[in-house]
C-alpha cells in the first residue's frame, strides 16, 4: 500500500510539473496532456489496487517483504 501511495504522490507531482511547464499564456497542449495523464494515472492506480487486492488474498498480507517468493 505504501508503494501505491508513493506512486500516486509521484504521479501527482509530475502532473503538477507538466502543467507548470506552460509558461505565461495558457497553452492548450499542456492542459490537455495533463488531463490525459491524470486519467491514465487513475487507470493505472485502479489496476494496481486490483492486483494489490489479489495479492492480499494470496499472501494474507500487504507487506512487500513477504512478496518475494519468486526469488530463485
Amino acid at each position: 500500500m505504501g508503494l501505491e501511495i508513493m506512486m500516486n504522490a509521484a504521479n501527482l507531482n509530475f502532473i503538477a510539473f507538466s502543467s507548470q511547464a506552460a509558461e505565461g499564456a495558457v497553452h492548450p497542449l499542456a492542459h490537455v496532456f495533463t488531463i490525459l495523464s491524470i486519467s491514465i494515472g487513475g487507470c493505472v492506480i485502479a489496476l494496481g489496487l486490483v492486483i494489490t487486492i489479489y495479492a492480499y488474498r494470496h499472501y494474507g498480507t500487504l507487506d512487500v517483504r513477504e512478496l518475494r517468493r519468486l526469488r530463485r
Binding site: 508503494l3 506512486m7 509521484a10 504521479n11 509530475f14 502532473i15 510539473f17 507538466s18 507548470q20 511547464a21 506552460a22 509558461e23 497553452h27 492548450p28 497542449l29 499542456a30 490537455v32 496532456f33 490525459l36 495523464s37 491514465i40 487507470c43 493505472v44 489496476l47 494496481g48 492486483i51 494489490t52 489479489y54 495479492a55 494470496h58 499472501y59 512478496l67 518475494r68 517468493r69 519468486l70 530463485r72
Partner: protein
C-alpha cells in the same frame, strides 16, 4: 479515422465485447471469439504488408488531428513504423492462434480483447508522430500488459510478478512523463519533427541531458535494459506462454523502437554525447542476460534472460550508430522477435502437454513430440548463432559494422557474448535431443493442430530468412537511410 490499419484495429477492439456477447447467446463463445480475434489480426497483418511497396518508393502516410501541426495529435506511417507494426501483428496473430485452445472458456473474451487492445496500442505507438499520442498509446500498452501478466489470477506467482512489473513500469512511465514535461518546457511542442529542429539549436543545456537520461530509463525499462531488467524474468515466467511470446517479441521491441526514435530522430544532434553511455548499457545488458541464462533450468526464465541479452545486442548496434549497424539492429529486432516467439510457443506446447517447464524433466522429449521439438531445436540453433539461420545474419551485420566503425572492443565483447549464448542454446539442444528420457517426457503427446501450425510457421520463417536474408537486409537498409537522411 487515423490510418486504415489503426482504424481497423481500433474498431475491432471496440467490437470485441459485442462478439463475446453474441458468442454467449449462441453458446459458441470458446470458438467464436478466437476466430474473430485471429481474423482481425490476419486482416491487419495483410493491411500492414500492403504498405511495403510504397515504403520502398519512400511514401509516407501522414495525418494530423485537432489544430495546427505543432499542437495537434498526429499519426505518421513511415518505413520504420510499418516495419515494426507488421512484426507486432504477425507475432500477435500467431500467438493468438496458438492460445485459441488454451484459454479457459470463461476468460476467453477478456483474453482476446486484451490481446487485440495491446496489438492496437503497440501499432499506435509506432505510428504516432508526437509524444502526446505516443504517451497515450504507450500507457494503453502498459495497462494491457499489466493485465496480461497477472492474467492467471488464481496463481500467486502471476500476481506477484504483475505487482512487481506494475510498480517498476509505472515508475518508468512517470520518468517518461517527467522528461516530456522538460522537453515541453524547453521547446513548447511535443511534435517529433519540430522537437528535433528546436533541440538542434539548444546546446550545452543540462536539462536536455537529464531529459534524455529519463527517456532512456523509461523506455529502457520496458526494453529490459540491464539495471532495470529485474521485472522481466518474473513477468515472462508468470504470464501464459503465448503472452510471454508477445511480450518478448513485441512489447520489449516497442521500448527499443522508442529508444531508436528518441536517439536518432529527436536527439539526432545530441547523439554523439550519448554514444558511450549507450555502449556501457549495452555491454552490461549483454553480460547480465547471458550469464544469468547460463545455469537456468526453468525454460521460460532461461529465454527471458536470453531476451535481455539480445536486447543488449540490439543496443550494441544502436551504440555503434552507423547506418549499417542500425540496419543490423532493425534486422535483429525482426529475427529475434521471430525466434523468441518460436521458442516461447514451443515451451507453451511443452507446458500444455507435459505439464512442466523444467529443462531436466523434458529430456529427450523429441521422441514423443517430434514436430514441436524439431521446431524448438531450430529456434535454439538460431539463438546459438548457427549459420544459415536468421539470427546469424543480423549479428554478423552488427559485429561487422562495429569493426568497420573502428569500435573493435564493442564487437569483441559481443562475440564473447555470442559464445555464451551458443553454450546455453547447445545445452538446451543436448537435453531435448540426447539425454535419457524421463517419465514425464515419455508420457507427453504431440500438441494439437492450432498449436503446431504457428510453431511450424515460425520455424519456417527462421529458415527462410536464414537462407534468403538479402531482401530483408535491403529493406532494413532502406528504412535506416530514410530515417537518417530524411532531413
Amino acid at each position: 479515422m487515423f490510418t486504415p490499419l489503426l482504424g481497423v484495429l481500433a474498431v475491432s477492439v471496440l467490437a470485441t465485447p459485442l462478439i463475446s456477447l453474441l458468442g454467449e447467446k449462441i453458446r459458441r463463445e470458446g470458438i467464436l471469439v478466437p476466430i474473430y480475434a485471429v481474423s482481425v489480426l490476419i486482416c491487419a497483418f495483410l493491411l500492414s504488408i500492403i504498405y511495403f511497396p510504397g515504403i520502398m518508393r519512400g511514401d509516407i502516410v501522414l495525418a494530423a488531428y485537432g489544430g495546427p501541426p505543432l499542437e495537434s495529435s498526429s499519426i505518421k506511417a513511415d518505413g520504420l513504423s510499418v516495419y515494426m507494426a507488421s512484426i507486432y501483428l504477425g507475432i500477435c496473430l500467431l500467438a493468438s492462434l496458438f492460445s485459441s485452445r488454451i484459454v479457459a472458456r470463461s476468460k476467453v473474451a477478456a483474453y482476446f480483447s486484451i490481446i487485440l487492445g495491446m496489438a492496437t496500442a503497440m501499432v499506435g505507438v509506432v505510428f504516432s508522430e508526437d509524444f502526446f499520442t505516443l504517451f497515450v498509446f504507450w500507457e494503453a500498452m502498459c495497462i494491457c500488459s499489466y493485465t496480461l501478466v497477472s492474467f492467471n489470477k488464481e496463481r500467486e506467482e502471476s500476481i506477484e510478478a504483475g505487482y512487481k512489473y506494475l510498480i517498476m513500469s509505472s515508475a518508468g512511465s512517470i520518468s517518461i512523463l517527467f522528461a516530456l514535461s522538460f522537453l515541453y518546457g524547453l521547446t513548447g511542442t511535443l511534435n517529433f519533427q519540430s522537437l528535433s529542429e528546436s533541440l538542434s539549436q539548444v546546446r550545452e543545456d543540462p536539462i536536455v541531458h537529464i531529459a534524455v537520461l529519463m527517456l532512456l530509463v523509461g523506455f529502457g525499462l520496458q526494453a529490459g535494459m540491464a539495471p532495470f531488467h529485474t521485472w522481466l524474468p518474473d513477468a515472462l515466467c508468470a504470464a501464459p506462454s503465448a503472452v510471454s511470446a508477445i511480450f518478448s517479441a513485441c512489447t520489449e521491441k516497442t521500448g527499443l523502437y522508442c529508444l531508436l526514435k528518441v536517439l536518432f530522430v529527436i536527439f539526432n544532434s545530441h547523439y554523439k554525447d550519448w554514444h558511450i553511455p549507450i555502449a556501457v548499457f549495452a555491454v552490461l545488458t549483454m553480460f547480465v542476460g547471458n550469464i544469468s541464462a547460463l545455469l537456468q533450468d526453468d525454460l521460460k526464465r532461461l529465454f527471458a534472460y536470453s531476451t535481455i541479452a539480445n536486447t543488449g545486442y540490439i543496443l550494441v548496434g544502436t551504440a555503434i550508430g552507423t547506418s549499417r549497424a542500425l540496419a543490423g539492429s532493425l534486422f535483429h529486432i525482426l529475427n529475434h522477435a521471430i525466434v523468441v516467439a518460436l521458442l516461447f510457443l514451443c515451451v507453451g506446447a511443452f507446458i500444455r502437454q507435459a505439464r512442466t517447464r523444467s529443462l531436466r524433466e523434458i529430456a529427450s522429449i523429441r521422441h514423443t513430440m517430434p514436430l514441436t521439438s524439431i521446431a524448438f531445436m531450430i529456434g535454439a540453433l538460431s539463438l546459438a548463432t548457427f549459420p544459415v539461420l536468421n539470427i546469424f545474419w543480423s549479428e554478423l551485420m552488427i559485429v561487422a559494422a562495429g569493426l568497420e566503425a573502428g569500435i573493435a572492443w564493442l564487437s569483441f565483447l559481443m562475440i564473447i557474448n555470442l559464445l555464451f549464448s551458443a553454450v546455453y542454446s547447445l545445452r538446451i539442444i543436448q537435453w531435448v535431443a540426447v539425454k535419457r528420457m524421463t517419465y514425464i517426457s515419455r508420457r507427453a503427446r504431440e500438441a494439437p493442430l492450432p498449436m503446431v501450425i504457428p510453431i511450424l510457421a515460425l520455424a519456417f520463417t527462421v529458415i527462410l530468412i536464414g537462407v534468403y536474408p538479402d531482401p530483408f537486409q535491403r529493406l532494413t537498409e532502406t528504412i535506416v537511410e530514410a530515417i537518417l537522411y530524411s532531413k
